[in-house]
Amino acid sequence: MNSRWQSVGKEAPTYLDNEDATRADDRAGIWAVADGAGGTGIFVGEWAQHLVRHVPAHPFADLTALSTWLDGHWKPFFDRYQPRAKADPFIGYKFMYEGSGATLATLHQRDTQLYWLIYGDAVVVCYQSATGELQAANADLRQFESAPYLLNWLDFPKAAGMQSGVWSHQPGQQYALLTDTLGQYVLMAYAALSGDTASLAAVAQQPTALGQRAQTHLTYWTDRTGQFDELVWNPLRNALSSTDAFLAYTQQLRRQQLLGVDDYTCLLIDA
């Protein structure tokens, strides 16, 4: 399988300040994205990098496997960053009280099986362009209404934060790992364009920026049902050709108010 990916930060003028992390190891069949959680915690971009770098060769079997893996990898990170944290009272306080948090999505290929894992609200999808069908590991849009579960070196992972599963690869099937806000865009657009608007309409009722975005999707894609491939998937694929193209693509979606403000990462895999 071959992968391509792009990642850009949220803020002008450089968009280089990015707390997402990506790993694409096509030969080993390991792909991962992590999203350092800026709302709480410190050194979160570094933690996201640490997590993806140490994703194991084999898929996570269950929560115990995830927890055991974290047990083996948190301490070097703690030892590396604690001295830096102690040098400043604010950083030290935040480090010890909030730790460092990130969401994580992984995909492992074993023969014709694709094993996915999500901790938090990153999005993993499987798309068959021949049929236009998109399967999402976590399709429920309401997940974005609340703060995501985060892998944090301070705590043990929780069962409610983890989802995992497996897909059988079929010819023409493509896979994507996306950090939350870009994943949210793909899921909202798919819901609107596939006519499955009940959950989108429910989110649109919320008096929040997310609710506003859901309403914009409901309105924007009207009368375009069935055009997901042409209007959403292919533009996303094409945007992965370069960082400039990806930045232009995400900024265009921002201007259309179809995409929230965030760091954006998309890792796309196909045969």
Binding site: E11, A37, G39, P89, I91, Y93, A147, P148, L154, A209
Partner: protein, 330 residues
Amino acid sequence: MHDQSPVPSSALPVAEWQQALDTVLQTPLKARPYSAQIMRQSPTAFLFLIDQSGSMDERTTYRGRVLSKAAAVAQIVNQTLLELVLRCQKGDEVRHYYDIALIGYGGLNDEQAVSLWSGAMAGKFFLSPAELAGATIRVDEVTVERSIRGRSMTVTEKRPVWLNAVHNYRTPMKSAICLAESLVREWLVAQQGNDVYPPTVINITDGVATDATADELLACCERLKALRSMDGNVLLMNIHVSDERGKSILFPARADDLGSDQYARLLYDMSSEMPAPYHADIASLFGLDQRTSYVGMCSNADMDALVKFMNIGTPTQHNSSFIANLSPEP
């Protein structure tokens, strides 16, 4: 009293300044207010108005200790200011997500509210989070137990202090509200009509204003609450700290909830109705029933309620609505 420059006025000539303010105030409200994301390009502002009058010397209980109301409020405000800095701390950088004012009334004199920043920041009204981090009066050290992955460890923590316990003179609350109004006007003009989360003003008092009648005070509050960005009106939240008598009332829905207590009713009328995005957090944090209206006040609040109230009004980890706005960067 330290030197206090007047409220800084814009570099703009008066006519242009007024036109800029009019433009801001005439911009239509968004369809979904209080949804602006708080970033460096679009910060928000917090103004804390602290009653430092003589009656704040009365005793209260906080975290199992008997201490003065002024001391308890100082501890809680210091913790809130620390939270504000922490929310802006990204790696080694403290980002400019808000401007923060700390206004005291009473404390130094009978008539005039003043900015409480001291040292190099004396005379300034708004501090950026980075300036706030550098504006401590002192840093206390405390030994605490922390749990890391289920293992307990003892650590020495440094706790910054910005506000000392002070209790003197009368209660010039109107002066504080008017100063807040003036500061918010300047702040809104400085944002140049951008889509910014509107300023939040939190007034903490144990008494009745001594520099105004109820009607005069209400008129000041109405002027303050009428100020707005396109994302919504200024939020004015009022906290009446407890004298440990009387029933505690939090986020009431109707004035009738307050009974015949005229002071509580005045606070109710002074306060903003809390926007819908806050409702779930208020209900959850205070164990209240889900309602369609919550007014941003509490009467006879004990110190635990004050802590929770501050958590609703500022972006702590307990306020998921605010955190969602603050974290375009989850």
